[in-house]
Symmetry: C2
Subunit: 233 residues, 2 copies
């Protein structure tokens, strides 16, 4: 295998979306974990409804709304669903936290090592351009990422083939020369269907989806990607 | 409003998918509710991944698998995910129960009343042809439904426009002359986007999705559909 570029999913893979739970627990005692999970699930659900409802008669889905906006809407829904008080101050605090998510601790060193080996590094994310820029910056990853690719321009979310197709428009190499890395099993599956070489970061020790095929590689954290690339010491 | 046909979603709307919880609890004490919810969520997730990953270069998604098969796969995933013993006997029992889901109590009388008023009645479902036939039969609804439409033929699930488009191929009336009834908020949303007149059966008293627009009508059970049709006494 010759991998010429490593492309990372952002939310859940580089940035810990459940790290929001601590602030959520502070704002809504005993509901933090529930808010974090339901917020994330709803956010992803909205990307899917928009994408699969696309009538393919315009450029992208006519129901498209940027991920940042879907993130806010799904938070508002979640608080309503849990019958929790929703004051703009609390929503704002959680959204600001989301704009500066904690990266997983090992990530920066892994990215540095891949970059130093001469392989192109990139993000492909559902995230809006602005929110990605702010997350990358606050994680100190600006210098270790060659490209940050958002689905904004095509108005369709992952796992649409149009979204994965964006990578080759930016990094013109063969599909299987791209190692796509995601901790979201569904994203790893979609990328495998698309034709990328794939690595599933299985941080929680979950079974893989019952849909096939399995990703080419997997491991418990981002360091395992170095093994797939044969860069581990 | 002149409604010429009432089209019902099946799973969750006519048939109670969470009724499976009782058997699940019997087979896996203290896990019944968790199995029922996670099984349903995973089943729907798989329909979405398949539909939104469609490269639009063949007839339907090349990743398509019938709903019955997805139902089994999602059950197996759920049991693995919860680290529960998965013996074929238990899986078989749950699947057989799924083939004969309990209908909500008011449904048959509502369907009879609509049918008697001269309005066309139908199901549009993600369900496979066989599983729908068996569910309709065991609910005693064969005589009150004019059409049972499955997405099988197009190999794309709801909320794809292709799936809702099947209705007009079978019942050639205008979109807004079709009252589409679903207890799944996402399905009511997708059908509203598509252009149907819509009625959301909100059995659990949930907030509607944060995506717009809202369905045209809603009510707490299937009887409320009679109000939308002005057939209530």
């Amino acid at each position: 295998m010759t991998i010429k570029a490593v492309v990372f999913d952002a939310y859940g893979t580089l940035f810990d979306v459940y790290s929001i739970q601590v602030l959520a627990e502070e704002l809504y005692p005993s509901h933090g974990a529930d808010i974090a999970v339901k917020w994330r699930d709803k956010q992803i659900e909205y990307t899917r409804l928009i994408t699969q409802s696309d009538p393919h008669n315009t450029s992208g889905s006519q129901y498209f709304r940027p991920f940042w906006e879907l993130t806010r809407l799904s938070l508002e829904y979640t608080l309503d669903r849990l019958k929790l008080n929703r004051e703009s101050d609390q929503v704002e605090k959680l959204m600001q936290q989301y704009a500066h998510l904690t990266p997983f601790t090992e990530n920066l060193a892994v990215l540095q090592k891949i970059k130093a080996s001469g392989v192109t590094t990139a993000i492909l994310s559902n995230g809006s351009v602005d929110m990605l820029a702010s997350a990358v910056k606050s994680a100190g990853m600006e210098d270790v990422l060659d490209q940050v690719i958002s689905v904004d321009s095509i108005r369709l979310f992952k796992t649409s083939p149009e979204s994965y197709g964006l990578v080759q428009q930016t990094i013109p190499v063969n599909k299987d020369e791209i190692l796509f890395v995601s901790s979201n099993a569904w994203d790893a599956l979609g990328a495998t269907w698309f034709g990328f070489t794939t690595h599933w970061v299985n941080r929680q020790g979950l079974p893989f989806e019952a849909l096939t095929p399995r990703p080419h590689y997997s491991g418990p954290d981002l360091k395992s990607v170095l093994h797939s690339l044969e860069l581990a010491e």
